[in-house]
């Protein structure tokens, strides 16, 4: 059955940051240089082709964009400057907005003004909420203890509340991703055993990003890994140890050591990334979408205010620490609440998931090939 091509799709993708896709004439240099391009996942060429032709439905079900870590080699090798690496990036944005059923993602990606407004709005509401909350039950001069302005256990409760909302949103999107990429295609059944057999890949890719390590240049992987581990460390600290983190003024090295390390990791990598994007030092830093900037700035603010309140608190400047804390929350909440389900940060879920899906799909295809080899269709007499 023929797939209907939509010549207008390229134009749509341009709003997600795609450039020069139509320049590609399929020499295949990009796929030859990409370490991940391996049957059945030919990247980035196949995605370029589907995109040129406007095969929307097929693109929705493609995993290839997620299998790319954007080392940028393909763009460098491209004889026509068709920027395949950036195209993969914009496809990830487009896919993110497709997975997101709320339509918010689409709004954010297509208009930085809307995203910025949303971030500011959420920040303001968060700030106002926590400030009023703090005043209503605590003392702004107390950072910790009985009268603490923003007591750890309450914040902890809020954390979990937010986490559950985010999880629901994220999981719904992940479910949609599964439906597009695996569930919808009735012709290729993936057996349950395949899901179980390869389940280990999910945490492994999440934690190690070992695929990224296969890219020719290792530094982007190290940076990315440090950032990700710092983030996860911080997340764990906040989700489980927020009370101890807030306690003071004595330093509790059991948590603070991790907290400091994570902060250094976060600040170091984000500053590196910002510098890189300004100076365009790396291939994947050459093109920066507005969402990239917002994400980085939020992350810097989150990490910066986090360490600042820590320092202020230890210095005995509790009120300043509390205000910083509110500012901190004003950046944390939009980052988690908006970036994770609807924008750039969502790839923390989609990418490992895509690796996992890719493996089980490939495995299913191999199994099918083995089966069909065993029973050849009889030749016509």
């Amino acid at each position: 059955m023929a797939i209907r091509a939509n010549p207008k799709l390229i134009e749509e993708l341009e709003t997600y940051g795609a450039q020069d896709v139509s320049k590609c004439y399929h020499c295949g240099n990009c796929s030859a240089t990409c370490p991940f391009s391996q049957d059945p996942y030919i990247l980035p060429r196949r995605s370029m082709r589907s995109l040129q032709m406007g095969l929307e439905r097929k693109l929705e079900g493609d995993l290839e964009p997620w299998l790319c870590y954007y080392c940028g080699e393909c763009s460098q090798e491209c004889p026509r400057d068709a920027e395949p690496g950036e195209t993969m990036m914009s496809l990830r944005r487009w896919l993110t907005s497709r997975y997101d059923f709320t339509g918010i993602s689409k709004l954010f990606y297509r208009s930085w003004r809307i995203e910025l407004a949303a971030i500011l709005l959420v920040a303001m509401l968060t700030g106002l909420g926590f400030f009023l909350f703090g005043l209503s039950q605590g003392n702004i001069h107390h950072y910790d203890g009985v009268n603490a302005f923003l007591p750890g256990e309450k914040i902890h409760f809020f954390d979990w509340g937010l986490a559950i909302v985010l999880l629901v949103l994220l999981l719904t999107n992940c479910a949609r991703m599964w439906w597009f990429t695996i569930g919808r295609d009735k012709s290729k059944r993936v057996p349950l055993t395949a899901y179980i057999k390869s389940a280990y890949l999910l945490p492994m890719h999440f934690m190690t990003q070992m695929r990224y390590a296969k890219c020719e240049r290792k530094r982007p992987w190290v940076i990315h890994l440090i950032l990700m581990l710092s983030y996860v460390t911080m997340l764990i600290l906040i989700m489980f140890f927020v009370k101890r983190m807030a306690a003071g003024p004595a330093i509790d090295w059991r948590v603070h050591a991790f907290g400091l390390a994570a902060t250094v990791g976060l600040l170091g990598t984000t500053i590196f990334a910002v510098r890189g994007r300004i100076k365009k030092t790396e291939n994947h830093y050459k093109h920066s979408h507005e969402t990239d900037w917002m994400f980085l700035i939020l992350l810097i603010v989150v990490a910066g205010t986090g360490i600042l309140q820590f320092i202020l608190h230890r210095s005995g400047l509790d009120m300043a620490a509390n205000i910083t804390y509110v500012v901190h929350l004003m950046s944390v909440v939009p980052m988690l609440g908006l970036e994770v389900p609807f924008s750039k940060w969502s790839h923390l879920a989609y990418r490992p998931l895509a690796m996992y899906f890719a493996e089980i799909k490939a495995e299913a295809a191999r199994a099918e090939a083995r089966a069909s080899q065993g029973v050849r269709a009889p030749q016509a007499a």
Partner: protein
């Protein structure tokens, strides 16, 4: 006949020959051969002293035949012929024995090589004894020309030659000049106007005092041979009552520039040409552009325009060859559609993109930048065009098995432009017959040599230029036309046509008129005189291959300088 006095000269070629072949023994054996008056060696026969030695011997000893045993005749035959001529002996009284390339350089054993050298020298001596004196002849070269076809190639050739002073008869079948180019709007890759290009030329042709322009005319008959053709040209009367005019003119050369016709798109049923109103050919689209607007039959601006390449070209069902101009023309259309309907989406459905010419690759890149969607299909796997359903936002849908993605897709279209290929004109065989040239299996006229002589044909004096030889774009047609003009001017400049002394002749006393030979000559040099019932060879056209000589069943044709007697003597010689 005077007594044979053969001089045999064995060259040492420094040590090249003497190192392996025993030159003294060779001379000794040669000196005992019948008719040999003198036999001597020299270090370098081709050197001036070597040649002078031959001249001196001829004068002193009255030699009337010379054998030089040295290198390949392909190297120094002209050198020694000149020496003979200098000494007053017919240059064809020379025979060379190739004892370097065929002896000393290829055999190690001196004794074996010497034996072979002796045999080759003997063959040469026996052969030269049967040589006949031959004279080069020359015939007059008429400087006037006939150019058949008034397209870009024909006009270019005519103008170049007319500027150089020749009288040109430019014969055009239609009532206007310009040929197929007159049907074109802009040209790829620089998007120049074809009209501008033509107007200048057409005006010059019409006004040129040396060009006699014959519109509504056809060549009816061409007789004669290079330098001396007589062409009969019939000109249709303007009004029905008047009689057609027939004129006979003398010309020295003919340039055939009869061009091409476009492929009939309705032969490919998949495209629905003739049934779907908005499936049009490239020439119909050109007409639309020349008239100034891109719109569908319903008068709307098309949102989706699809261009299908290789219509009639590059497939086994119709024509296996590439028509060469369609790829760039299609890209040109992409630009022209975009400029006429800025919001339109252009899909370019091709087999391979042939962007071989100057500026073409760049034009291809620029076309992709204006967001032309390039879709690739495989040869012989035609896209299929169907009417779209009511719910679709387009008029037609084209199903393509897209090769680059491996997907079968449907592309929306409101207008489909079929890039119809070039094919030989229906009456190519008549034209070929008229001027005595041949066409290949597709009807394109065959050139003398595909690489080294792409302008001349196997019939001397008949040249081809433009798309009648093969599909061609404008620069190539113009280049070929100018090349033809240059070739002809070179010959006109000499005034006379030199005819090689070596050619085949029919002995009319032996010819029985069986006509076995008539079809064998690739140069149509053999004429049949129906009244005398004898075949005759036009020596000016003969290239001396000898095919007719070998085939003549009654031995009535002789190859000058390669007669049966000469070759038989050689056979006897090498076997001695």
């Amino acid at each position: 006949m005077e007594d044979l006095k053969i001089g045999v000269y064995v060259c040492n070629c420094g040590t090249n020959i003497a190192k392996v072949v025993d030159c003294d023994a060779t001379i000794e054996s040669a000196s005992r051969l019948p008719g040999v008056a003198i036999a001597r060696p020299y270090k370098y026969m081709c050197s001036n002293p070597g040649q002078e030695m031959i001249v001196a011997d001829i004068r002193e000893h009255g030699l009337n035949r010379v054998v030089v045993a040295a290198c390949s005749p392909r190297m120094h035959e002209p050198t020694f012929r000149k020496a003979l001529q200098q000494a007053g002996v017919n240059p064809y009284f020379l025979e060379m024995a190739n004892i370097r390339e065929q002896c000393s350089w290829v055999h190690e054993d001196g004794a074996v090589a010497t034996e072979k050298a002796k045999a080759l020298v003997k063959a040469a001596v026996l052969r030269v004894a049967r040589h006949e004196p031959l004279e080069r002849r020359s015939v007059d070269m008429c400087p006037d020309l006939l150019v058949i076809g008034g397209g870009i190639a024909g006009m270019t050739a005519a103008l170049d030659l007319a500027d150089a002073g020749s009288k040109i008869y430019l014969v055009e079948r239609a009532d206007h000049l310009g040929g197929n180019l007159a049907r074109v709007d802009l040209t790829a890759p620089y998007l120049d106007s074809a009209r501008d290009m033509l107007t200048d030329r057409m005006t010059r042709v019409v006004e040129h005092p040396n060009i006699s322009l014959l519109l509504n005319s056809e060549v009816e008959r061409l007789e004669g041979f290079v330098g001396n053709f007589q062409a009969t040209i019939a000109t249709k009367a303007r009004n029905g009552n008047a009689a057609d005019q027939v004129a006979t003119v003398d010309v020295g050369s003919v340039v055939v520039c009869t061009g091409y016709k476009e492929f009939d798109a309705s032969r490919i049923t998949h495209y629905g040409y003739g049934k779907l109103p908005n499936v049009i050919t490239s020439f119909e689209f050109e007409k639309m552009l020349r008239e100034g607007g891109v719109e569908t039959k319903e008068g709307k601006a098309p949102q989706y325009v699809a261009i299908i390449h290789c219509v009639g070209s590059r497939n086994l069902e119709f024509h296996a060859y590439c028509s060469r101009v369609c790829c760039m023309t299609a890209l040109k259309y992409a630009h022209e559609v975009k400029s006429a309907v800025p919001g339109a989406y252009v899909s370019d459905i091709y087999i391979d993109m042939h962007a071989f010419g100057k500026g073409h690759e760049d034009f291809y890149r620029r076309s992709s930048e204006v967001k032309t969607l390039f879709l690739m299909y495989a040869k012989d796997d035609y896209p299929v065009i169907r009417r779209a359903d009511a719910k679709d936002d387009c008029e037609m849908l084209i199903e393509v098995n897209e090769s680059l993605s491996g997907e079968t897709i449907e592309i929306p279209a409101d207008m489909v432009i079929l890039m119809v290929g070039m094919e030989a004109r229906d009456d190519w065989a008549d034209v070929a017959h008229l001027v005595n040239i041949s066409g290949d299996k597709d009807g394109w006229f065959i050139e003398s040599h595909p690489k080294l002589d792409p302008v001349a044909t196997t019939t001397d004096g008949i040249y081809i230029a433009g798309a009648c030889q093969a599909p061609k774009d404008i620069p190539d047609s113009v280049a070929q036309a100018r090349a033809a003009a240059a070739r002809i001017l070179g010959r006109i400049a000499k005034g006379k046509l030199e005819i090689d002394a070596v050619f085949a002749e029919v002995d009319e006393d032996k010819c029985s008129g069986c006509r076995m030979c008539n079809e064998l000559c690739p140069y149509t040099a053999i004429e049949f005189d129906a009244e005398k019932k004898r075949s005759h060879i036009i020596s000016a056209l003969c290239k001396a291959c000898g095919a007719c000589v070998a085939a003549c069943p009654s031995g009535a044709i002789a190859a000058r300088h390669f007669t049966d007697a000469q070759i038989f003597a050689q056979i006897e010689g090498v076997l001695a």
